[in-house]
Every structure is written in C-alpha cells, then in structure tokens.
C-alpha cells in the first residue's frame, strides 16, 4: 500500500536550546536551594545522626531534582513541539529512527556513574553511623502494647513512656519488644529501628539540642498503634543528673510490697498517683471525658456516675471493685483487647490508685 510520507521537522525542534538552557538554570537553582536549605526536610535536627542523614537527603534531593527537571521538561516540550499539526494527513509519520548508539551509550553511562557516586556516598554515611561513638550511656528500650519502657543502668525500676537523654552524650540504645513488633523512631534524630521480640537492634545517637520530642511507633502493633507514642526529653547533663537522682529515689521508695497482696485493697488507693499512672498506661486508649469521647475505648471521666451507661462493658455494675476486676484481668470486646494488669505491668496498689483516680473524676 502506497503510504504518503510527510516528514516533520527532523531537527531538535524550534525551542530545543532555549528549553535546555531553562533546564540548566532551573536545575542550578534547585541544587542551590537544596544545598543551602537549613533544614532540608523541614524538621529540626536534635543531634547526631540527623546531620549526617540530612546531608544524604541534600545530595539525593539535588540529584533527583536535576533528573526530574530533565525528564519532565523535555517530555512536556517534546509533547508540545512534536504534536501532529492541525490539518496534517493521518498518514503523516514521525522521524523513522530506531536508535542512536552514542546517545544510548551516554544515557546508560551517566546514570551508572550517578549510581556509583550515590552508592559510595550512602555507604560512607552508613559506615560513619556504624562506627559512631555510643557506649557512654547505654539504655534499653522495650516496646509493648501500647507503650515504651526504658531501662537505665543503676536504676532499679524501668521508666515508662518518657526517655530522658543527656545532651552531648554518645548514647547506645538497645531495642527490643515484649510482645509484637513495634517501631522506635525519633524523627528529630532521623533514627529508627524496629522493636522485634526475641531480637535486639541497636542504634547510636548523640543528642545535642535540649527539648521535648516524640518517640513514635512505626510498625503496626494493634488497636492503639496510632496512639503509641512516648516522649523523648533531651536535657542538659545537669538536668539529666537531677532527673536521674529523683527517679532513683522515687523508685526505691515505691519498691516495697507492690506485688504482695492477692486481692486488690482499694481503700489504700491514692488519686494523684493514679492520675500519673493513667497518663502512662491508660490514656492511649481512654480519655478522661464523658463516655462518648472515645479514643479506642470509652471515655472514663464519669464511669461511676453515668446514668446513660450504668453498667460496665462486661455487664457488671459500675462499682470500684468491678472496675478493678476489669483492670486486673483485661477485657476482649467488639473493638479489641484491653491488656490485663499483668501485661500492663500494674501491681495491685497501682490498680487501687487508678480506681481512686477514676472515683475522684466521677465526683467532679
């Protein structure tokens, strides 16, 4: 079949060189901006290794911006410059070129070189992290459903949901989990490791900027995963020493007969101690508002004084003893499982304190 061949412009197109100049200028601007931004990902750097990892972000960002500019701008330009002209016959064809070995050589060679450079740069930063100093302070972090526990050397009892780190101290954190896989992430340090039961992962950080940051769980771990957060307090070494001493004192004083009695003696409960515990153990899933203010479970603010919900979730009357029984044994209902006191590491006196706190809430 005879085909009428109408050849389009076989040159690079009318605007090729201006477009190329535009790409060069834009890429230069992008690289300049990425390299000079104080915070390339928009998040403060609270210590090592944030700086090293951000330098990798800068480098990757600059390379990616250049490649993206080249691909997108040329694509859009070709799309416009080489559209079929209005009124052109349907038999019009494009430039019949199959390949161009020199061009193909270069666009294989240049990405290969880029990959090598990126791999070397990443490996260098990776090696720096592996060799970084830790060990001045060694902490253990243990995840559980749904919170974090931190163990310090020379501290008898673990600290829950609040990690204190002294500034300018190379710190090693050994990370594991008691039940399922959790994540341990401090975004401001750009550092993360999974908390895997039966396995210890180790990270090394050197915090520098005092402040209060979040520790976020990044592996799905159950119903309250979205609320599994802890606080990382980076403080000066003096403040840390004060906190440490206070912690040791308090913990030693409370260390007495916690696991003793089998029955829960509720009359001993202290509402203020219960309030602290509630913040650590319960507030991931329960608010202190009215019943309807649900997080995962119902709000507990009026649990003993709620005409709309006179019964507990297990059908028992809302008495302090019955509430204590649920806290003790845990409960599995339609929306999920509330862990038992054993899982939550609550002693009987802890339960008494919690119930006392809930009673005080209902009186307000």
């Amino acid at each position: 079949m005879a085909q009428r061949v109408v050849r389009p412009k076989t040159n690079l197109g009318p605007g090729f060189w201006p477009v190329t100049a535009f790409i060069v200028v834009l890429s230069a601007v992008c690289v300049y901006v990425v390299e000079t931004l104080p915070l390339p990902i928009g998040l403060i750097q609270a210590g090592a290794p944030a700086d090293a990892i951000d330098s990798l972000f800068r480098f990757l960002g600059a390379v990616a911006a250049v490649i993206f500019n080249v691909v997108v701008i040329y694509t859009v330009y070709f799309a416009i410059a080489f559209r079929r002209p209005k009124g052109a016959p349907a038999s019009m064809i494009g430039v019949q070129i199959h390949d161009a070995p020199v061009l193909e050589f270069w666009w294989t060679a240049i990405p290969t070189i880029l990959v090598i450079i990126l791999a070397i740069f990443s490996t260098k930063i990776w090696a720096d992290l592996q060799n970084s100093q830790g060990d001045v302070l060694t902490i253990e972090a243990i995840g559980y459903q749904f919170g974090f526990q931190f163990r310090y050397p020379k501290l008898a009892n673990p600290v829950t949901n609040e990690l204190h780190l002294p500034a300018n101290t190379p710190t090693t954190i050994h990370i594991t989990s008691r039940d399922v896989i959790h994540g341990f992430w401090i975004p401001e340090l750009r550092m993360k490791a999974d908390m895997v039961p039966g396995l210890i992962n180790t990270i090394r950080v050197t915090p520098t900027v005092p402040g209060t940051y979040h520790i976020i769980c990044t592996e799905f771990c159950g119903i309250a995963h979205g609320r599994m957060q802890a606080t990382a307090v980076i403080e000066t070494q003096q403040d840390f020493a004060k906190w440490f001493a206070k912690q040791g004192g308090q913990q030693a004083a409370a260390g007495g007969g916690s696991a003793a009695g089998a029955a829960v003696a509720l009359d001993q409960g202290k509402a203020d101690a219960g309030q602290t515990l509630f913040g650590q153990k319960c507030s991931a899933c329960h608010s202190t508002g009215p019943f309807a203010q649900k997080l995962v479970g119902p709000g507990l603010g009026k649990i003993f004084n709620d005409p709309d919900h006179p019964k507990l979730v297990n059908g028992a009357a809302a008495t302090p003893q019955d509430v204590a029984a649920i806290v003790k044994s845990g409960f599995t209902g339609d929306i999920g499982t509330m862990p038992s006191a054993q899982m939550n590491q609550l002693s009987n006196s802890d339960i008494a304190n919690l119930v006392a706190y809930l009673v005080s809430l209902s009186k307000k």
Binding site: A88, D99, T108, T123
Partner: protein, 570 residues
C-alpha cells in the same frame, strides 16, 4: 498475492496451522467456562474492575477518616481492617490480575499470532480461582477482616481476627492462579509465535509478559510457603513465627519480601510493555531503542530477586548485609532509566496524535519517574532509617503503583478498548478523565512524602493535630475525591461507548502489530490463517508490511506467506 521483501525466503506452508477448533455454541461454554483466552481476558477485566471499585471505596474511607486528626468516621479497629483489605485487594486482586490475566490473555496471543494460549484449560482454572479467592478475601469482613496491613507481619497477625485465616487462603489461591498463568504465558510466548516472529520482532508488550512470567511462578512459591506456615501457626498452633516459642518473626519478612519485591515488577513490567506499544503508535515512530527496552525488562526481572531485604533495613539483620541490598537496588535504576530515556526519545521527532492513550502514557512517564526517584531515597540505607514505616513509603509506592501500574492500565484500556469491544469511546470525555486522574493523583500523594518526613507513621487512624498535618492531610483527601471522580467518569465513558460508541473498525489507531490486522472484536479463532511476520513491529515508514498478507488491515483471508523463520511446534 502476498508482498514479500527481498531476501525473505518463502518456504512450504504448514497446513497443520490452518486447523481451527469449532466454536462452542452453549452459553456456558462460550461465556462462563470458556477456554478462549480473549473471553478469559475479559472475565479477568470485569472481575478485576469490580474489585478495583471495592478497594477504591475502601481507599476513600481511609482518606475520609484522615480528614480529622482524631479520625473522622470509623473506629480504629475498622480502620485497620479497611487499609489492610485495601492493600491486599489492590495488589493481588486488581493490579496483578489486570496486567497479566486481563491484558496478557486478551492481547498477548493476538500479538504473537496464536489462536490461544498454550494451555487453555489451565487458563480456565487459573481464572476461576481468581473470583473465588476474591469472594473468600472479602467475606473475611463478615468474621473480622485482617487488620495488620497487607504485609501481615507476625506476631501481630497471629493475634489478628479470624478473617486473617481467610486472607491466607485467598492470597494462597491467587498465588497458585498467578503461578499457573506465569507458566502458561512463558510456554505460549516461547513456543507459539507465528512464523517469522523472531524474538527481535516481538512486540514489546509480549517481551514484557515474557520477562514477567518467570517472576510469577518462581517468586510466588516463597509466598505460598510463608502463607502456609502462617495459617498452620494460627490454626494448629505450630510456632513458626512466635518468638516466645522459638519462632522467628523476621523469617516471615524474608519470605514475604522475597515474593513481594519481584511482585512489584510483576506489577510494573507489563505496564512498561503497554507504554512501549502505545508511544510508537501515537507518535508514528518506531520505538526508540527496541532492544534496550526489551533487554532492560529482562534485566530488571533478574535483579528483582536480589533486592528484597531493602524493605527490612530497620528490621534487624547483619549490618553489612544492608550494603549489597542497597547497591543492587540502586542498580535497578539503570535499566529503568534506559527505558524512560528511550520513551522520551520516542516522543522526540514524532507526529504525535494526542489521544487519551498517548496522554496516559506521557502522564505515566512523569509520575513513574517521580516514583522512581523517591525509590532512590528509600534505597539509601541511612535515609531509609528515617523514612521506613512512614507516609513517605506510602507516597512512594502509590507513585509507582498508581502513577505507574494503574496509569499504564488506563492507557492500555483506552488503547485496546476498540479492539476488545469493536467500539470507540468518547475522546473528549477520555481526555477530561485523564486530567481528573492526573491532577487528583498528584494532589493526593505528593503531600504524603512531606508528611512522612515530618513524622507521620503509616497505618494510623489518627495523627498529630498540628496545622501542617491537618492541612496536608485534608489537601490529600480532597484531591483523592477528584481522583475518584475520574474513576467514576471512566465507568460512564465505558458504558457510553458500549451503548453509543461508533464502530471502531479493525485498526482505528493505525497501529502495526498483529492484533490490529483482524476485525474488532476479533473472531473466535483469531486468525483464519496464521500470519507470517516479515518485519519489525513499529516501522511506520517501512513500505514492507509487518505481516505477509495483502497489506490492507483486516485482510486475514488472504494467502499467508511463510517466512524464513521458525514454525511453531504445537
């Protein structure tokens, strides 16, 4: 008489190729339990489209929930099930079956000039496992759907609701189905090409299916074993993964990603193939660098087996082992880059006919490049320490899976729709649909990179109530409604085309590959006589026709010519 190029030998024609099985007459054998690859392809398409709509609605529930930092509409437990089912359905019941089962079955045998796939009955079995597995998967909503994400990492998946068992069964079944399809396609492409269709004359979509098929049946076995172990542990209490009883949770991750990383390429290489078909047709040019594109598919397929642990940089493994996985992951960028540059060069110098498939192919080029570049951020181990498990990952894989796989699926759907149904679609609406999808998609997923870097973890029903988080989450959610509007418009376009579309004729796009040489929709037997292939598939300027028939499209009745090259051995 046939047109024969100088230098092409003619040889004896094999009469055995002319044998045509009679077409079944009963409704059931024709439309329900058909062994015709074209019918099976359409069945895959319809089933996949239904699952796509369900999984898409789940996605909208997710985005609606995230309108408010405390979770707007569903409880955390429901939310967990919804995103888990969204991911599972999209990966195993939408993208993989649509790219291989649907388009592979309909287009690939036509493109190689075969009457059917090598094992039509196996094809029938493979298809019917798909809707059955889908029903099993979605019925898990009745007894408590799985809630630990599509990756179902133990030990949390061991605590999951009873529906997790159904999830194991459904994914196992779809894995077996995809293994069957993989073997079937590999044999079909290797043994059943028309005379004269050498490997270098194969359309690139066929090359893509050829590179994908071994991935399906090699990698899926690892997933099958992992799923069987998870099921046994959940039901019969044999501890494979529970660390408290000597199991290893990381074992699951290795087995799962040994499948799921190659699966990423099962989900994109056929898409590459579609783009490589569409660009030459609409630019009226040969594809630039045919061999490089074909071989890079194979290179990607091979490399994809040695990168799985880049999903596990924070999970705990010997530190030095992170380096080879990082480097091989980065190396994959080279063949991928070659493809992208080749497609750009195909656009250059074209006489581009801007129809919807071409728009989608170009949109794909942009979004997929973006997704590939963020992949680099994740491959670099130290950067991954920050990004792992955050919305950055979510944004990245939606860029490659929606911006890559789904965009190429839409491109392929518009491109082959006239062939499949014999009717054209409404071009204006098609282009509007493209822009809705393209703008909505970018608006949804670009902000998520940012959110992830700033500290938003994956799989959470609530988030930090600071204004940055609220603003960008709402921006993403509202953009996702635009994307959904695009998907709904597509449904209207297709129904409208079936009812009012004008007749397409055999070759509405003026393409050169074999499937366009026969009527639309193709007859039961595909080719009355098996055509002989004389030239490369995309030579629009070549006066020599692609097949040895009278060159006019649709002239299948003419005497075929046997060319110099292999005669199929079936």
């Amino acid at each position: 008489m046939a047109t024969i190029a100088p230098g092409v030998q003619t040889g004896p024609y094999h009469a055995v190729l002319d044998h045509i099985h009679p077409e079944p007459t009963s409704f059931i054998r024709k439309y329900i339990f058909s062994i015709d690859a074209k019918v099976i392809g359409i069945q895959y398409m319809i089933t996949g489209a239904i699952f796509f709509m369900i999984a898409g609605m789940l996605a909208e529930i997710i985005r609606t929930q995230l309108l408010s930092p405390d979770g707007a509409i569903v409880s955390p437990a429901t939310y967990n099930s919804i995103y888990s089912m969204h991911g599972s359905a999209m990966v195993w019941f939408v993208v993989i079956p649509l790219l291989t089962g649907a388009f592979g079955n309909f287009v690939m045998p036509l493109q190689i000039g075969a009457r059917d796939v090598a094992f039509p009955w196996l094809n029938l079995v493979a298809f019917w496992m798909f809707p059955i597995a889908g029903v099993i998967l979605f019925s898990s909503f009745l007894i408590g759907a799985p809630d630990a994400g599509w990756t179902e990492y133990p030990p949390i998946s061991l605590q999951g609701p009873p529906g997790t068992n159904l999830w194991c069964i459904a994914v196992f079944l779809i894995g077996v189905s995809s293994t069957m399809t993989g073997i079937n396609f590999l044999v079909t492409i290797y043994k059943m090409r028309a005379p004269g269709m050498t490997f270098t004359r194969m359309p690139l979509f066929v090359w893509a299916q050829f590179a994908t098929a071994p991935l399906s049946f090699i990698a899926t076995t690892a997933l099958g074993a992992a799923l069987a172990a998870l099921f046994i542990e959940r039901v019969f209490n044999v501890p494979f993964y529970d660390p408290h009883r000597g199991g290893s949770p990381v074992l699951w991750q290795h087995m799962f990603w040994f499948y799921s990383h190659p699966a990423v390429y099962i989900m994109i290489i056929p898409g590459f193939g579609m783009i490589s078909e569409i660009l030459p047709t609409f630019t009226r040019k040969p594809i630039f660098g045919y061999k490089m594109i074909a071989f890079s598919s194979v290179a990607i397929a091979l490399l994809s087996f040695s990168v799985w642990a880049h999903h596990m940089f924070t999970s705990g493994m010997v530190p030095w082992l992170q380096l080879p996985f990082m480097i091989i992951t980065m190396v994959i960028a080279i063949p991928t880059g070659i493809k992208i540059f080749s497609w750009m060069a195909t656009l250059w110098g074209g006489a581009i006919n801007w129809k919807t498939p071409a728009l989608y192919a170009t949109g794909f080029l942009i979004t997929f490049t973006y997704g590939g570049l963020t992949g680099f951020f994740l491959a670099a181990v130290p950067a991954d320490y920050h990004e792992h498990g955050t919305y950055f990952v979510v944004a990245h894989f939606h860029y490659v899976l929606y911006g890559g796989s789904i965009m190429s699926l839409f491109a392929g759907l518009y491109y082959w729709w006239p062939k499949i149904t014999g009717r054209m679609y409404n071009e204006t609406l098609g282009q509007i649909q493209f822009w809705l999808t393209f703008i909505g998609f970018n608006g949804t997923f670009t902000p998520l990179h940012w959110l992830g870097l700033l500290g938003m973890p994956r799989r959470v029903p609530n988030y930090d109530p600071s204004w940055t988080f609220i603003f960008w989450n709402r921006f993403a959610s509202i953009s996702s409604y635009v994307m959904t509007l695009g998907a709904l418009l597509l449904v209207y376009i297709l129904i409208d085309s079936l009812r009012n579309g004008k007749k397409a004729g055999p070759n509405p796009w003026g393409a050169r590959t074999l499937e366009w040489m026969i009527s639309s929709p193709p007859p039961y037997y595909n080719y009355k006589k098996i055509p002989a292939v004389l030239a490369a598939p995309y030579d629009f300027g070549n006066p020599l026709p692609y097949i040895g028939l009278e060159a006019a499209p649709g002239a299948v009745e003419a005497t075929p010519t046997s060319a110099s090259h292999p005669v199929p051995t079936y």
